[in-house]
Amino acid sequence: MTPAMADHTRRLVGDMFRRQRRGVALTTGFWAMHQICEALVPVAIGVVIDQAVGTGSGAAMIWSLVGVFALFTALTMGWRSGFWFISKAGQEESHLLRMAVVRRLITGRGISTDRQTGELLSIATTDTQAASQFLELGSRAVAASVGLVVSVVVLLRIDWSLGIGLVVGVPVLVLALNALGPLVERRTSAQQQAIGESAATASDLLTGLRPLRGFGGVDEAARRYRTASRTSLRANVGAVRAGAAFIGVSTFTTSLLIAVVAALSGWFALRGRITIGELITIVGLAAFLTDPVLNLARCVLEYATVRASATRVAEIIWAPARTGSGTEPAVAGPLALDDVHTPGLDGVSFTVDPGELLGVATTEISAADAVTEVLAGTRVPQRGKVTLAGIPLADLDVASLHRALLVEPHTVDLFGETLREALRTSDDQDDAAMAAAMAAASTGDLVAGGRGLDHELLDHGVNLSGGQRQRLAVARALLADRPVMAFRDPTTAVDAVTEHAIAEGIREHRSGRATVLVTTSAPLLDRCDRVVFVHGGRVAATGGHRQLLELPAYADVVLR
């Protein structure tokens, strides 16, 4: 782990405790109370045997029973309240961390990460959950220590030499157990890594399930997952064995503690230094002590897992942005490429003015990709710049830029559970505006069903055809109504008649505002005010579609 990552993890954990300080404090208090009561149970047993069972006094026995129930009431109340407050704090915190991860991934242009979607999913679910357990660990460790302290105080009151022995002995034991920590941590993080990878394999295969079944790759896919799962199993068994060794060692050390305390106190009782009742209390306490000591040991064990998860969450939250954001507020104006060099473009310049519908036709796909990506700001040109109203995109504040300029991605992703939800990208869009945008994108057939805009969409809109999804995306973009907009091949999945209708719809709906169509579709290009033809990475010609048709290279690309 790099120092920066360790630093981020510390900050993450610090923030967690600061935010949930109330819940953690209450839990620690209640659990400490519970530990004290637990420590008092053997004391109570000793007292009852000494004062009631040993003496045969009925009154003492009745008081003993009342005392036992009072003690258990306090005990169960302490534990339950603590558990409730820590569950609330832990769930709340894992929710906050999850949302922080989600926000980091979807704000601006996202982060630069080489993690797969499956891994990100596992970070947003499993790791946020595990990281929030830091809170519980903290409370548990403090409460266990309180239990230890109370036991030691009780022992000190009975016999100081035993008390002192524990004061020295227990920390030595816990520290000795700590030494095993690194072994367990190594195995645990190997296990988590393997689990994450096999989950990522599973979600990758499921995401591609339709194509996979189409080419009959199911057998091989199942075999691959089995391989990943076996790797994960091996790591799992390794971690389990390390954990078991740890538990074995801690069991032995606590047994040693009990045997020594029992021998010593028995010897003291034989010599008359303490009473039989006190002996019982001490023996009982020694047995009770096992719990807080083992509990502390287990906290050490879990710490490794929990910290590994917190580190992964911190890695996303503090990840560098994919491309930085500037600070200048974006205003609408001419959008221009100025001598842009990037793979696919070899010095391309053009401008779309307010109110203009500009077509960009390219012979190579790589050039179309390059134009789309530099406009979206996801790719930074090697040379040259892209400007909006004269200011380079890189200098503009991303949030305000996305309000001024929309580049609709070609891959359609729909959100929400109804048509209305899928269309809506801000709150100020009314049904009339929706109807206009949907009409422009020729999506009448979608609302023809009985439920209109409340038509239900399944997961990602899987119940729509490719063409329906594409038209819905166009409608969504038109509805968003940004001053400057760019589309990349928006009509590839629709038939020719509909394509003409959409081309007309886009032109009308966008009248008065700037629009770029990166496409080789003749119906779309035909309705553009001007077409820029990019050939061999350079602008070969600019003009009207019909005028450019004179160029054989252009005609070859757009005529079909």
Binding site: W79, E92, R109, T125, G248, S255, G266, D413
Partner: protein, 578 residues
């Protein structure tokens, strides 16, 4: 969410997991025996402590006291070794059973019938193979502790038998209390934890669609809106969890009072017996300490009950998928020969939806190609999917090479017909790994030949490490048309006599469509083919064209015939050419 995947009932879940556990009888036996031995050794400690108290009360010799302390230490050492070994064995046993189960779940998820999968959505399946698998795997680590605690409790009970039987009897008062509260708690808990797992599945679905659609969220700058959606789903999971926890705390409370009652009964009986001179103070001490010794394992059982219930609910979801019926492969090798496709009166509607295909009949002779064109939503994709055996039609019949498509085992079906779907996916791993999903035994030369056929040889050669370049999610990015070419190359590797291409060139954008058209034309050579085409140039190159509207074939003929007829296709063609 609409129709979810099945969730197994309690008995089926236990039975299925039991079968998985029984696959490792040796490991299981060793785990059970070592756990029992470990708990036995651990229970010996308080009994020996009771003896020590008796010894001191009887003013025994210091040497006997030391010997007793030695025994206590020996029992502790034995317990330590056995606890370590049993933990490792129990957890390994659970982990192996779990690994078998998750592999079976994914296997079934991959093979389950398509209609069910489509209705449930990828999110539900994904949440089962990730969240639920993890929950169950995590619980196997707890299983060792739970198992040890159960054995300790059982052996401690047995330990009572070594004491005065009347005190042991007194202790039994706790059982009715346990029984009553469990009977009340378990059904309620099952419902609450099942609700929690459903909420978690909804959360996964929301996260997954957000992460895969991040680019769109960025473009619209609608992180607030999308965060609010995820927030609602995540909140739902938090609330469901806390709801389950609240029920659990009621149960924990009752359990604690049961302990108090048991302890009181033991002490009171001891008190009465000692007063009647029927037993010794040492005996009562041992009983009380033994009982106290139960608090640890009982508390642990309580504490983990929450996780065990939750894991049980997750397990029920896994078993629900694992128990799905999946068609068995035939294992027969069929010789590759030209195959015709015949559809007779095919009708189809999606569950709960209107009819999308009405009595479609079509015949495609071996080696011929048919283009399907029409407005979007006309039923083209549905028809193509049914002809390719992606899912069965709700009515009518499809025959491939004379055999009804429903009679073909999955492996036979996929050797006969390859389908390129609208969706493309680049599988994570090297490019060669991606292609070998289709043909695991293909050599590098085979792969390169397929890549060349798909027209992708130039860019593949230009990749940093050629076929060994890592592609897919988070790796070297491929463009939409490159991904499409990969899809074609995979089919070329499978080499089926029938090919269904659903808008194979569409997603690339028109600049790439030309190349893709050439690639798909090469793939269609000498195969029976159905091509769903939006690009009419592609339709023109097919032997025949079927024009669809509202779930029916309205025109059918060669391209020249249809243009000459001046019908719907002629209109489309004019629009395309204009």
């Amino acid at each position: 969410m609409t129709a979810l995947l099945p969730v197994a009932g309690g008995r089926a879940t236990a039975g299925a997991f039991g079968r998985k556990l029984r696959r490792y009888p040796g490991l299981g036996l060793a785990a059970v025996l070592s756990s029992a031995a470990a708990s036995g050794a651990a229970v010996a400690v308080p009994i020996l402590l009771g003896r020590l108290v008796d010894l001191v009360a009887a003013q025994g010799a210091t040497r006997s006291l030391l010997a007793m302390a030695g025994w206590i230490l020996a029992a502790g050492l034995a317990a330590a070794v056995l606890v370590g070994v049993s933990r490792a064995l129990v957890a390994e046993w659970g982990a192996r059973a779990c690994a078998d189960l998750r592999e079976e779940v994914l296997d079934h998820a991959l093979r389950m019938d398509a209609a069910r999968l489509e209705a449930a959505g990828a999110g539900d399946v994904a949440s089962r193979v990730t969240d639920d698998v993890e929950r169950v795997t995590d619980a196997t680590r707890l299983a060792a502790e739970v198992f040890a605690a159960l054995v300790t409790v059982a052996i401690t009970f047995a330990g009572f038998a070594t004491l005065d039987w009347r005190i042991a009897l007194a202790f039994l008062v706790v059982f009715p209390l346990y029984a009553i509260s469990l009977r009340r708690f378990i059904p309620q808990a099952e419902a609450r934890y099942a609700a929690e797992r459903r909420a978690v599945a909804a959360r996964t679905q929301s996260l997954l669609s957000t992460f895969t659609g991040a680019r769109t969220v960025h473009a619209y700058g609608m992180e607030e809106r999308q965060s609010a959606r995820v927030d609602a789903a995540s909140r739902g999971a938090v609330d469901a969890r806390l709801h389950a926890v609240r029920g659990f705390l009621w149960f924990a409370n009752v359990m604690n009072y049961a302990e108090a009652l048991g302890l009181s009964a033991v002490l009171l009986t001891g008190f009465l017996l000692v007063r009647a001179d029927a037993t010794t103070v040492g005996e009562v001490t041992a009983a009380a300490l033994l009982f106290h010794r139960l608090f640890g394992p009982l508390g642990l059982l309580l504490l983990t009950f929450n996780d065990v219930q939750s894991a049980g609910a997750a397990l029920a979801r896994l078993v629900g998928v694992a128990e799905l019926h999946i068609p068995a492969p035939s294992g027969r090798a069929v010789a590759r020969r030209p195959t015709d496709v015949v559809a007779t009166a095919v009708r189809h509607h999606y569950p709960g939806g209107p009819a999308v295909l009405h009595d479609v009949s079509i015949e495609i002779p071996p080696g011929q190609s048919l283009a399907v064109v029409g407005a979007s939503g006309a039923g083209k994709t549905t028809l193509a999917a049914i002809l390719g055996g992606v899912f069965p039609a709700t009515g009518g019949e499809v025959r491939l090479g004379g055999r009804p498509i429903g009679d073909l085992a999955p492996d036979e079906l996929r050797r006969l017909v390859g389908v390129v779907t609208q969706e493309v996916h680049v599988f994570a791993g090297t490019l060669a790994d991606d292609l070998r999903l289709a043909a695991p035994d293909a050599t590098d030369d085979d792969l390169l030949a397929a890549v060349k056929l798909a027209g992708a040889d130039a860019w593949v050669a230009a990749l940093p490490a050629g076929l060994a370049t890592r592609v897919g999610d988070g790796e070297h990015p491929l463009t939409a048309s490159q991904a499409q070419q990969l899809a074609l190359a995979r089919i070329a590797l499978v080499d089926p006599p029938v090919v269904i291409l659903d808008e194979a060139s569409a997603e690339a954008g028109s600049a790439g469509a030309r190349q893709l058209e050439q690639a798909s034309a090469a793939l269609l050579q000498d195969r029976t083919a159905v091509v769903v085409a939006h690009r009419l140039t592609q339709a023109q190159s097919c032997d025949r064209i079927a024009v669809m509207a509202d779930g029916r074939i309205v025109e059918l003929g060669t391209p020249a015939e249809l243009i000459a007829a001046g019908g719907a296709y002629a209109t489309l063609w004019a629009a395309w050419h204009n």
